[in-house]
C-alpha cells in the first residue's frame, strides 16, 4: 500500500514538471545557413621560344658568317594557347669558353615587352577580309574576336675585341627572363662555327629530323677533289655510290669514307642518316683535299 502511494506521488511530480517545462521553456530554435561559393583561377602563361628552353637548349650554326644571330620569343605555345596579357622580359648574352676574352656579345633588346592584342579571326571561312574589323564589327558579323600570337625577333652580335683576330668556334649563352607578371627563365647555348671558304670551297650544314646534309659549293673554275670521313657512331651515309671516285667500308660493310670530285661552280649535297638525335655539326665530319 505504501509502495502504491509512492508511485502515485512520483507520477504526479513528473507530470507536474513536464507540464511546467512545456509551458515555460522550449528547446526548439531557429537556424539558417547561407552559402556562397566562388571559383578561383590564375591566368595561363605561355612565354616560350623555339630556340630557348627552361633547361638550356643547344643551337648550332655550322656556317656562321659572323653576322647577326637571330632567335625569337613568343607569348604562345600554339594557335590556341596564347597569353592574354603583356609580358615584360629581360635578355642577356655572354660569350663563354675559350673565346670569351677575345669577343663580347651584344644583344638587340636587353629589356622589352611582349604585348598581347586581339583581332578579328574569320572562323566562318567565307572569304571576307576581317583583319581591319573592330571588335563590334567582328562580333556582329559572327566572327571570332580573339587573342593573337605575339612574337618578337631578338638577335645578338659578336663584337671582336681585335677586329683582325680570326675567330674560331664561338659559344654564346643566351638568357631571356620574363619579369612581369610571372617569372620564367629561358636559356639557350648557341655554338657558332664560322663559315670558312677554304680554297674557294664553301662548306655548309643543314639539319632535318632524321637526316643531316653536308653542302659543298665549289666557287672556283677548277674541279675540286675531296676525301670525306665521318663519325660512324653518329651517322650513316645515304649512299649514292655512283657519285664517288672511291670509298671505304668498315667491318660491317658501312661506308666510312668517300672520295669525290666537285665540278667548277657547282654544289653537292651529301645526306647522312642520323643514328642519334644530335645535330650534324662540323666537328663530326672530316673534309680533306685529295693529295
Amino acid at each position: 500500500m505504501k509502495n502504491i502511494k509512492k508511485y502515485i506521488i512520483l507520477i504526479l511530480i513528473i507530470t507536474g514538471i513536464g507540464i511546467a517545462f512545456s509551458l515555460t521553456v522550449t528547446f526548439a530554435k531557429y537556424v539558417k545557413n547561407i552559402f556562397w561559393e566562388y571559383n578561383l583561377k590564375t591566368k595561363e602563361f605561355y612565354f616560350s621560344s623555339p630556340e630557348l628552353d627552361i633547361k638550356s637548349k643547344d643551337n648550332v650554326n655550322n656556317s656562321w658568317d659572323e653576322d647577326l644571330v637571330y632567335f625569337t620569343i613568343t607569348n604562345s605555345l600554339n594557335d590556341e594557347l596564347i597569353t592574354t596579357y603583356d609580358i615584360d622580359y629581360e635578355a642577356s648574352c655572354e660569350v663563354v669558353g675559350d673565346l670569351k676574352d677575345y669577343a663580347e656579345c651584344q644583344i638587340s633588346d636587353s629589356s622589352g615587352s611582349l604585348s598581347s592584342y586581339q583581332s578579328c579571326v574569320n572562323n566562318l571561312e567565307d572569304g571576307t577580309d576581317v583583319s581591319d574589323f573592330t571588335k563590334s564589327e567582328c562580333e556582329l558579323g559572327g566572327y571570332n574576336w580573339a587573342y593573337q600570337k605575339s612574337t618578337k625577333e631578338l638577335y645578338f652580335e659578336i663584337i671582336k675585341n681585335d677586329p683582325e683576330y680570326e675567330l674560331g668556334t664561338i659559344t654564346v649563352d643566351i638568357e631571356v627572363k620574363s619579369t612581369f607578371p610571372y617569372t620564367k627563365t629561358l636559356k639557350g647555348i648557341f655554338t657558332l662555327y664560322p663559315q670558312k671558304i677554304e680554297d674557294n670551297l664553301i662548306i655548309d650544314y643543314e639539319n632535318y629530323d632524321y637526316e643531316g646534309a653536308l653542302i659543298l659549293s665549289n666557287i672556283e673554275s677548277e674541279e675540286v677533289c675531296l676525301n670525306i670521313s665521318w663519325d660512324l657512331e653518329k651517322y650513316l651515309l645515304d649512299e649514292k655510290i655512283d657519285l664517288y671516285n672511291t670509298y671505304e667500308v668498315d667491318e660491317e660493310g658501312y661506308l666510312k669514307s668517300i672520295n669525290l670530285n666537285i665540278m667548277p661552280y657547282s654544289s653537292l649535297e651529301i645526306k647522312f642518316i642520323k643514328k642519334t638525335s644530335e645535330e650534324l655539326i662540323k666537328n663530326d665530319i672530316l673534309i680533306e683535299k685529295c693529295e
Binding site: V31, F35, W36, E37, Y38, N39, L40, E44, P181, Y182
Partner: protein, 179 residues
C-alpha cells in the same frame, strides 16, 4: 431482514426521484474572442555588397580583390525578435597561395577576424576549414554587421608554377537562435 429494508428504501427513493426528472437538455452558444498570439520573429539575412566572381577568374600576382558583404537581423524594416548567433566559415583547397583575410568593418575601422591559412586544419575532403569566432546579433542592439573578405595574390608567388591553377572559396554563414 436488514437487507430487505434497505432494498425497499432504495426502490422507493428511485421511484420518488425518478418521477421528477426531465431528460430535456438546455443548449446555449457563446462566441469568445482571444487576443492575437505572437510568435517571436527570427530574421537573419546576408547580402553580397560587391560582385566577386569575375576578378577571381583571371588572377595575376600582385592583384587583390575585396568582397563586401553584410549580415543582419533586419528584413524590410522588421527586426528579429530573438537573439541570433552566427559563425562565418571559409573553406578552400588553397591550391593558389592566396592571402585570405576576413575583416569586420565597424565605422572606419577594420578589425581582422581571421586569416585563412595553413594554420587551420583540413577536413576529410582536404579542404582548409577556417572558422571565424561566433558572433551575435542581439535584438536590442545594432542589427547590421559589415564584413570584407580580402583576397590577395602576393607578388612573390610569380613563378611559372603558379599559373593556370584552379581553386575555390566557399563562404558559409551559419546562424541560429540564442536560447
Amino acid at each position: 431482514m436488514k437487507k430487505k429494508i434497505v432494498l425497499t428504501l432504495g426502490i422507493i427513493s428511485i421511484i420518488i426521484f425518478a418521477s421528477g426528472i426531465t431528460y430535456s437538455i438546455f443548449n446555449s452558444n457563446a462566441s469568445l474572442t482571444t487576443t492575437d498570439q505572437n510568435i517571436a520573429k527570427f530574421i537573419f539575412d546576408a547580402k553580397e555588397v560587391s560582385n566577386i566572381n569575375l576578378p577571381l577568374q583571371n588572377l595575376l600576382p600582385g592583384e587583390s580583390n575585396r568582397h563586401l558583404f553584410q549580415v543582419s537581423s533586419i528584413e524590410e524594416n522588421t527586426s528579429s525578435e530573438v537573439d541570433i548567433s552566427y559563425q562565418i566559415i571559409i573553406k578552400t583547397y588553397h591550391f593558389i597561395p592566396l592571402e585570405i583575410n576576413l575583416y569586420q568593418e565597424i565605422d572606419e575601422d577594420k578589425i581582422l577576424v581571421l586569416t585563412c591559412d595553413e594554420t587551420y586544419s583540413r577536413n576529410d575532403a582536404n579542404e582548409l576549414v577556417c572558422n571565424a569566432p561566433i558572433n551575435r546579433l542581439l535584438r536590442a542592439e545594432s542589427n547590421l554587421h559589415e564584413y570584407s573578405l580580402e583576397i590577395l595574390f602576393p607578388t612573390e608567388y610569380n613563378d611559372e608554377i603558379y599559373t593556370g591553377l584552379v581553386d575555390y572559396i566557399s563562404l558559409e554563414i551559419k546562424s541560429w537562435q540564442e536560447i
